[in-house]
Amino acid sequence: MSDEAFTGFAGWLAEPSDPPVEGRPDWLEAQCSLARERLAGLDVPNSKTESWRYTSLKGLMEQDFARAGENMTALQSDDLEEVLIPGLDAYRILLVNGRYLPELSAHEDLPSGVRVAGLRDLIANEPDLLRTHLNAVAPPDSQPLFAALNTAGMDDGLVLFVARGVVLERPIELIHLSVGLDEPRVAQPRHLVVLEDGAQATLVERYVSLGDSIYCTNSVLELALGRDALLKHDRIQMESPNAFHITGLYLTQSANSHYQGVNIGLGASWSRTDLNCRFQGEHAECDLQGLYLAGDRQLMDYHLDVLHSLPNCSSRETFKGILYGRGRAVFDGRVFVAPQAQKTDAAMSNRNLLLSEQSEVDTKPQLEISADDVKCSHGTTVGQIEPEMLFYLRSRGIGASLARRMLCLGFADEVVQRLSSDALRDHVSEQVGQRLESAPMD
């Protein structure tokens, strides 16, 4: 199985027609080949692999993706207008099919101490800047399959550094735009975000497409937060309805740091998101929020892995899902509290609203607690729209379908409110509303 399977990913790593990343330093070359070697020994997950129990790779394996490369499209600024969010004031970094596009990016006048660059450029020109952190948050010798694929095929992505004590008020918006090409392509963007001690920033990370073609995005993010650092991180996955989307997010938090992540999943036919958090100092707080919508032919698969290995840290995992048609979702949340991690405060919840009989969610929150002086809780619900609530709205003259949509948006609101700006809240509410409007309600 694995021999045959592997040819399915061969195209992901084959050298692209354009020249390979130039001037790659030895240390990085060594890491990438380590990932390649590791891949040779990794089996393709199947239904017996615990973390892939509910999600089949079949559809992905059937595609013969070729690696996306440079200059595959002539994008105009008008094309970009279509995907911009009205009212969102941000520095903009644009990646098209995995490649940084400086012409249509806009991040001039960054305050001193803030560095925004394309990964490919930095590798070629200032590789030493990357040495401490790249492949350090997610070391290649322990990466799972898709992260290893990303490392082995490392090409381009966003690099964001915020120096000690610098507070960046204006958000950084990372737009990953996929443009339909003649054949199915896979882009493997690799992002690195480093906030030094006391630094603060807001990152808005969006995956969007022009058209509804078949492609795959296999992204990896490494996020390193220094002491007292604060990162607000809004992630909005709105890939094409025929796309495959994979995210592996790796986060390390030093003492007193705060991470506030909001994961919105609306697009792609098949998507898999792994969020991993490790604490490296006490009194750090990690807040992982999520909202996902899955309709016909859509799968949303979330895996959370939060490891409390030190005392006095807190984590929140709050995920909500709305499923309709034959939509499917998986929530597999794991919070591990090591014996020495006393005074850990962890609360995980996963609530789902099923709007149809054929929709389905597999939810598996797991708290593994080995310390005795902790405050930990978890809960899941899978339910339908409350008839009482629906009647209340209808009794005021509001038609049944609008009433249902209002209640779904109300359900989603708790997570939507956590987004970092009104512009994003409006954008997401509108997108959720639009999807529900065309959703079959039975």
Partner: protein, 251 residues
């Protein structure tokens, strides 16, 4: 305006309304009193179209239309309004957005243009004053975390905004403090007009001191067993329901 004839309704196998008659003309205010569990809320729910009730006999005609054949929203669109005994909390649904959706749904059904944001807010401000409501409530989710009294006032506020032809107030007075009762009653009275009728369900004479009814009915065991003028309420306050029961049986 409303004509209910021989209405029988079940919940599951249990018959709750057992042949109920009620005639309401435009501009009239009818009080309905009666013991707990008599079927007062059931009547309100059946008239407004809530699920879970099976009408087994009788009819309800509202403004010439067969009320029971309409969806709940259609009943509201032709002018029916129910102030809930237990208003429902809608977490995450913003109150202002809700009010606007409701008002515009009614306007759309009547073929009127939707109100723009500015005119809507002006209207809201005006109605808020009538009910002495804090406009902070508008920014919150519908009824979520509202106090009992705030919920009741919010119901009457919605009524003031939606301007129904027939309003059914199901125990709007219970849970209100004395001042709030006064405010709510003033709000209701301000809405009285020759075209607008009301059904006021209450257990207490006190509300009827403020909102003077044209008729008082006693609903017991699923039927209107006695009707009279506003003096009937005083009599009930004094003697309870027992005497009518026995009288009804004797008759």
């Amino acid at each position: 305006m409303l004509s209910v004839k021989g209405l029988k309704a079940n919940v599951g196998d249990k018959e709750i309304l057992k042949g109920l008659d009620l005639e309401i003309a435009p501009g009239e205010v009818h009080a309905i009193m009666g013991p707990n569990g008599a079927g007062k809320s059931t009547l309100s729910h059946v008239l407004s179209g809530r699920e879970g009730y099976e009408v087994t006999a009788g009819s309800a005609t509202f403004l010439g239309q067969d009320l029971l054949a309409l969806a709940p929203e259609e009943r509201a669109q032709i002018g029916l309004f129910l102030a809930f005994q237990y208003p429902v909390e809608l977490p995450g649904v913003n109150n202002t957005y809700f009010l606007k959706a409701a008002l515009n749904s009614l306007r759309k059904a009547r073929g009127e243009p939707e109100l723009d944001a500015v005119s809507f807010l002006r209207l809201i401000k005006e109605k808020l004053k009538i009910l002495d409501l804090d406009d902070a409530l508008l920014k919150r989710a519908v009824n979520a975390g509202f106090s009992g009294g705030e919920k009741k006032r919010n119901e009457i506020f919605q009524m003031a905004l939606l301007e129904p032809r027939l309003a059914i107030l199901d125990e709007t007075d219970s849970g209100l403090d004395i001042d709030a009762l006064r405010v709510v009653a003033d709000g209701v009275n301000a809405l009285r007009s020759p075209e607008r009728s009301m059904i006021v369900v209450t257990h207490y004479q006190r509300l009827l001191d403020y909102i003077q009814p044209d008729y008082v009915h006693v609903l017991a065991k699923g039927r209107i067993i006695r009707s009279g003028g506003k003096e009937l309420a005083l009599e009930l306050e004094e003697k309870g329901y027992g005497w009518i029961d026995s009288e009804g049986q004797a008759a």
